[in-house]
């Protein structure tokens, strides 16, 4: 099968610091890929570049029939790319002036031009899927961390994105809320949503991922099925990282 998501030669520098040093990555439709690696290695930057929250310096990102070339990406292409990629932030980043339901509707009404009624129906479906059917009218400040992150995931789900990006979706959560958020992501993964997830939850990665990618120093060091990476890693750096995180 060919790549649904095809990233090639992605380079990102912050000043003299090369944070992504030529990333190539191919995701087949429905493939769920977990990215692991030490902190400061460029995992977040990779996800942010795929959403153009950080602008890559070189390389290409292809999603379906849309190809965005870093050298000549225009506004319209960047917006199109963002509409095809849902981003879930570590710190939720909910719109504080909007209710849970409005957070989910916003991309549908303002961005995709749906009518309010249609968007509301869709948002209510999503609220039920994320287990917050009765909290649609709550503002973020009235929700627990776990509930806020589920709304953050719901907002990304509403885009019906070709690719969902999760950047350490449970790292900012109190331990008591981690389970419910992982359960929701597991449910989305079970629906064969193409996704890239950066996580420190190794057990979770092993469980949901079709493939695990180990990154270090802005490069992909090693990748393979979870059984191989966690059980029989070939590269010393992978093995030493996995020993450290236990």
């Amino acid at each position: 099968m060919s790549c649904e998501i095809d990233v090639s030669g992605l380079v990102k520098r912050f000043g003299a610091n090369t944070v992504l040093d030529g990333i190539d990555l191919c995701l087949k439709p429905g493939e769920r890929v977990a990215i692991i690696g030490p902190s400061g290695t460029g995992k977040s930057t990779l996800l942010r570049c795929l959403n153009y929250l950080d602008r890559p310096d070189q390389g290409k990102i292809a999603i379906g029939d849309l190809t965005v070339d870093a050298a000549k990406a225009g506004k319209a292409e960047i917006l199109a790319l963002r509409r095809r990629t849902g981003f879930v932030f570590q710190g939720y980043a909910l719109f504080a002036n909007m209710t849970a339901r409005q957070n989910i509707m916003e991309g549908l009404t303002t961005v995709r031009g749906w009518s309010k009624e249609k968007a509301q129906d869709r948002a209510d479906q999503i609220l039920t899927q994320i287990g917050l059917g009765d909290r649609g009218d709550s503002y973020p400040s009235g929700l627990s961390g776990g509930q806020q992150q589920r709304v953050g995931i719901g907002r990304a789900m509403a885009l019906d994105a070709d690719l969902m990006l999760f950047d350490e979706p449970t790292s900012a959560l109190d331990p008591e809320w981690v389970g419910e958020v992982l359960d929701l992501i597991r449910k989305i993964a079970d629906g064969r949503q193409t996704m890239l997830i950066v996580t420190h939850e190794m057990q979770f990665a092993r469980e949901i991922a079709d493939r695990v990618v180990f990154m270090e120093g802005g490069r992909i060091v090693e990748q393979g099925p979870p059984g191989q990476i966690f059980g029989n890693a070939q590269d010393n750096r992978t093995r030493s990282f996995l020993r450290r995180v236990g």
Partner: protein, 224 residues
């Protein structure tokens, strides 16, 4: 020492009251224009629009760095000497123009601060779902910034009402100008200026009550 001529003051009340609408008119029009201008100036600064950003920085610096009275004189007596189409500008227009420029400079700074106070992650979240710069400002950032800036902007509105009294120096007969004229005829300066002072005080007090109500309301909405 003489005693206050209360009867004279009482007679002045309806006279001064007749000029309240003009004072409020100048203040309200200037406030609306200044709010729009200030929002634009603040956005130019926040987005660091090339070149314009520098121009706006100088504009703000100038209008904050010089007295309102000097600015009014510049607009009314000074500029028409160079720009002949301004010779027919009347005092009310010049005052509205000056108040707008002056207060927009201050208000732009508080709006800018309020915009920057909105958590950066919300900008990114809005971008990530594909919103344009204009959409995310209008839908996410400005509504939150407005809440934060509202009490300060209300204070500027109060300053602006008091600032309209300077229009009298441009030959406009508003509340202050009317009091001055009355006093010049009766020589009862103390009474005339006391009445006009009480008028300003009363207007500002009414607004302060409104301001406190608004703050309580906003506080509730945010704490929800």
């Amino acid at each position: 020492m003489r005693s206050l001529d209360i009867a004279y003051m009482w007679d002045l009340v309806p006279v001064i009251a007749g000029y309240v609408p003009l004072t409020l008119f100048m203040a309200v029009i200037s406030m609306i224009a200044a709010l729009v201008l200030a929002a634009v100036l603040a956005i130019v600064r926040v987005l660091r629009v090339p070149i314009l950003d520098r121009v706006v920085a100088v504009f703000i610096s100038f209008f904050r760095g010089t007295p309102l009275l000097v600015q009014l004189f510049l607009f009314y007596y000074g500029l028409p000497q160079m720009l002949s189409f301004l010779t027919s500008i009347n005092g009310v227009t010049a005052a509205i123009f000056g108040l707008t420029m002056h207060f927009s400079a201050y208000m732009a700074e508080s709006i800018r601060g309020a915009i920057l106070g909105v958590d950066r992650s919300q900008w990114e979240a809005a971008q990530s779902i594909g919103m344009t710069q204009g959409q995310l400002l209008r839908r996410i950032i400005l509504p939150q910034a407005a809440r934060v800036a509202a009490p300060t902007l209300m204070n500027y509105f109060i300053d602006m009402i008091k600032g309209t009294s300077l229009a009298f120096t441009l030959g406009v007969t508003e509340m202050m100008g009317a009091a001055q004229k009355e006093a010049a005829g009766s020589f009862l300066y103390l009474e005339a200026f006391l009445v006009v002072a009480l008028f300003y005080w009363a207007i500002v007090e009414v607004l302060s009550v409104g301001q406190r109500r608004m703050e309580a309301h906003l506080g509730k909405a945010v704490a929800r």
